[in-house]
């Protein structure tokens, strides 16, 4: 806080009292800020110490090995990365899995094939899109029941909101794990897990949009005797649709990442391939997947960003809200 006067003697007695109170308040505020910063820093240090103690390798001991790992984790020549990416035979092929790029090709016809990593990437992206469609669709149907301005029954709203919270916070791997135990490993478990989370996350954002909608069109329809369904369809939906679509697109971006991770714990797709290749020290394959994922995620982010800007303008970048 910048001070307001340097020579308090020139002030009237009443103003001097005012200044004294102001300064004491500023002091209290500063003390409180300092205390909270100190508390956060202490918590941070304690947490870091705890994490270091709990890790199997200690941070400062492992740092040199981290660079060793990077140094040794280099493909034999840069072209290897692209051979791995497009399933082209490697000149270093010695029968080991490390240089075996060709055996996982997905043949469409006798000579035309889809490279394995690109196929797996398609699986992952499709899982994300299908989950967004299912989750977004259900969130769309449910969100109107959680909005204060549309549903009078407090119990319904309360139940809807709690249900959405649970779906949002429920660990995705548990849903995936339970379905994997029933259906055996496959993408359905991943789709179910991500869809469930999407219902919760989008449902919350959706009903907040609905609550901020202009109620005049709804009143107009009510005055000519429209029922609840008609009022929602013709008064609310047209207003909230651009925001809904924008949030759904943002969710698609997040779900691509989520489906990669779920894939790594047993949902299939590129995540699983990546986990295997980095675990087995297959440098070329690993870098090929990293590049593919990077390009895909950047492309999807750019495309959905462009679409969102067209739909609702620049105000659609509330990252945190969408990421939660």
């Amino acid at each position: 806080m910048a001070d307001i006067a340097h020579s308090p003697n020139s002030l009237s007695p009443a103003n001097q009292t005012l200044l004294r109170h102001y300064r004491s308040q500023v002091m209290t505020r500063r003390v409180y800020s300092l205390i909270s910063v100190a508390l956060v820093l202490i918590a941070l240090l304690a947490a870091m110490n705890y994490a270091n103690a709990a890790n199997s390798g200690k941070f400062f001991e492992r740092i040199p090995y981290m660079f060793d790992f990077l140094k040794n984790f280099v493909p034999r020549d840069p072209l290897e990365i692209f051979r791995a990416m497009f399933d082209i035979e490697s000149p270093y092929y010695d029968g080991s899995l490390k240089f075996d790029y060709t055996s996982d090709r997905h043949y469409i016809t006798d000579s035309l094939y889809i490279p394995n990593f690109i196929y797996q990437l398609a699986v992952t992206v499709n899982i994300a899109i299908v989950s967004t469609i299912i989750g977004g669709g259900l969130a769309f149907l449910l969100c109107f029941f959680a909005a204060t301005n549309l549903v009078g029954a407090g119990a319904v709203r309360w139940f809807m909101r709690r249900a959405m919270e649970v779906m949002r916070a429920f660990p995705e791997i548990v849903v995936a794990g339970l379905l994997t135990a029933v259906l055996s490993i496959g993408p359905i478990a991943a789709i179910a897990a991500i869809s469930l989370h999407t219902i919760g996350a989008l449902g919350k954002l959706f009903f907040e949009v609905v609550e901020n909608a202009d109620m005049k069109p709804e009143e107009g329809l009510r005055s000519v005797g429209a029922n609840w369904l008609e009022r929602v369809r013709y008064a609310i939906v047209p207003q909230v649709m651009p925001n809904f679509v924008s949030y759904t697109l943002l969710r698609t971006e997040i779900n691509v990442r989520a489906s990669t991770i779920i894939g790594a714990v047993g949902g299939g797709g590129i995540g699983e391939v990546f986990r295997l290749s980095i675990g087995r020290d297959h440098a070329a394959k690993t870098y090929a997947i990293v590049i593919l994922l990077l390009v895909t995620i950047v492309a999807i982010d750019q495309f959905s960003g462009w679409l969102r800007r067209r739909l609702v303008g620049n105000q659609s970048f509330q990252m945190g809200g969408g990421a939660a």
């Binding site: 910048a2 956060v40 918590a43 941070l44 947490a47 705890y50 994490a51 270091n52 890790n55 199997s56 390798g57 941070f59 492992r62 090995y65 790992f69 499709n126 899982i127 899109i129 299908v130 469609i133 919270e165 649970v166 916070a169 429920f170 660990p171 995705e172 791997i173 548990v174 794990g177 339970l178 994997t180 135990a181 029933v182 259906l183 055996s184 496959g186 993408p187 359905i188 789709i191 907040e208 609550e211 990442r257 990669t260 991770i261 779920i262 790594a264 714990v265 990546f274 986990r275 990293v290 994922l293 990077l294 995620i297 982010d301 970048f317 990252m319 945190g320 809200g321 990421a323 939660a324």
Partner: protein, 443 residues
């Protein structure tokens, strides 16, 4: 009410945009829905959903779900020397020599397993009497297996040489020529407080509280409160101590990762913001660096650092830190580019140094936004730290994955899920409270 033709044409001429919608406005929604439907049908076949659902083990799914909130006692009643004796596996839920109220041995070597007031099994080595709703159905034990009576209801089923009895939720029994495998199901979680090998086994919550406040020590070496805590944390079945430690690791991962990301993204966002740093190459470079960090999946960072540092919370912290530095940097830079210039001009006009201009002209405007965004990321990371842990970055995720892998520890899975839900709700509320103090309640 109808209108004349002239009126109709007049209206149509006056408001052409209402009556002559272009193709996309009129049919766009239907076309979109149709395309989506086609896509979903394509995915149905692409992911082989039909066959996968058909081959699913749905009968087991019911058991797995029941395991979340109930437990099974599974003794084997073996026939030996004309007597029936109960045998428990190493995972048995009863201490040695404990009285079991639903399983009683009689002096003549027979045993009774009670399932309900009208449902029970009277087991002897020659014959097993199955009581269903008070009616007895004798199952004969012969040299080549068990034989169900001819008038048995559908709950008693002959399967080759064995007879299967279904008591519904209360359990089931499998009668063979040399043994009866009983499965008795109870609501709740077995041995949640103490495992059967603990000296405190058999105490419930109330008697535990009584123990803590009663004077006489069970173990002379330590106080009762200490003993209760040690025995509870050291529960070999539920592993409370281990689970709570892992949960703590997950929370630490989210907290340290987000806080570090905030601290690093804060100064760099000033470099990335066009209006703060008037250096185009620096802006561009910083923004691309943020994009790069953000676009590499959290999974990739996690697996990468797991290779480097070994499993534990450090790879998790590093993964969250790297992705979120990118994401927070981007959000912060955008917030900085939207600040009101008047306050900066005011500071400049009185001759303040660049640092002072930013400190008093910019930071007060953006700080609430920054803190609220960081809190959002903290909330979200508390959730994602679980799953990051499952790929090897430590924490409760790995524990969950292990428990699910056995297919018989679903009660432990439920326990961990409950803990995670509680922690997530708690943190949501804390972060909401801080946020609404900073920027006023959102709704």
């Amino acid at each position: 009410m109808s209108i004349s033709l002239a009126e109709k044409t007049r209206l149509e001429k006056k408001y052409p945009e209402v009556f002559k919608l272009n193709f996309m406005r009129r049919w766009g929604l239907l076309v979109g829905l149709g395309v989506t439907l086609l896509y979903v049908i394509f995915c149905w076949f692409f992911f082989n959903v039909g066959p996968a659902l058909q081959n699913g083990k749905w009968d087991r799914a019911a058991i797995y779900v029941q395991d979340w909130y109930s437990w099974r006692a599974q003794p084997r009643l073996r026939f030996a020397d004309g007597k029936v004796t109960a045998e428990w596996s190493s995972r048995g839920q009863y201490a040695k020599g404990a009285e079991i109220d639903w399983l009683t041995s009689h002096a003549d070597g027979t045993m009774t397993a009670t399932f309900d007031s009208d449902d029970r099994l009277d087991v002897s080595t020659r014959q097993v009497d199955v009581y269903l709703d008070g009616v007895a159905y004798p199952v004969a034990i012969t040299a080549d297996g068990a034989v169900a009576p001819a008038d048995a209801p559908s709950a008693i089923r002959q399967d080759r040489q064995k007879v299967l009895v279904d008591f519904g939720f209360a359990g089931q029994a499998e009668i063979r020529g040399n043994q009866v495998t009983v499965q008795r199901r109870f609501l709740g979680w077995a041995n949640f407080l103490y495992d059967p090998r603990s000296p405190l086994w058999g105490n419930d919550l109330f008697s535990t509280v009584g123990l803590v406040f009663s004077g006489d020590r069970i173990n002379p070496a330590k106080s009762n409160a200490q003993l209760v805590l040690d025995e509870w944390l050291g529960n070999r079945v539920w592993q409370h101590g281990d689970i709570l430690t892992k949960l703590m690791q997950t929370l630490v991962m989210a907290f340290v990762g987000t806080l570090f990301a905030t601290l690093v993204a804060f100064p760099f966002a000033f470099i990335a913001a066009r209006n703060i740093t008037a250096n185009k190459p620096a802006n561009w470079l910083m923004k691309r660096a943020f994009d790069f960090l953000r676009s590499i999946d959290m999974l990739i960072w996690a697996l990468f650092f797991t290779r480097g540092f070994g499993p534990g919370p450090i790879p998790g912290i590093a993964a969250i830190f790297f992705t979120d530095t990118g994401a927070l940097g981007k959000v912060y830079a955008e917030a900085l580019e939207n600040v009101d210039d008047k306050q900066r001009e005011g500071m400049k006009s009185v001759g303040a140094s660049p640092a002072a201009v930013n400190r008093f002209g910019v930071v007060p405007q953006v700080l609430p936004v920054f803190v609220s965004q960081s809190l959002y990321f903290w909330e979200s990371n508390t959730r994602s730290a679980t799953i990051i842990g499952a790929v090897g970055a430590g924490g409760i995720g790995l524990k969950l994955l292990e428990a699910m892998g056995t297919n018989s520890d679903w009660d432990k899975v439920a326990y961990m899920v409950l803990l995670i839900l509680m922690v997530v709700f708690l943190f949501d509320n804390i972060s909401n409270a801080i946020r609404s103090r900073l920027i006023g309640p959102t709704h």
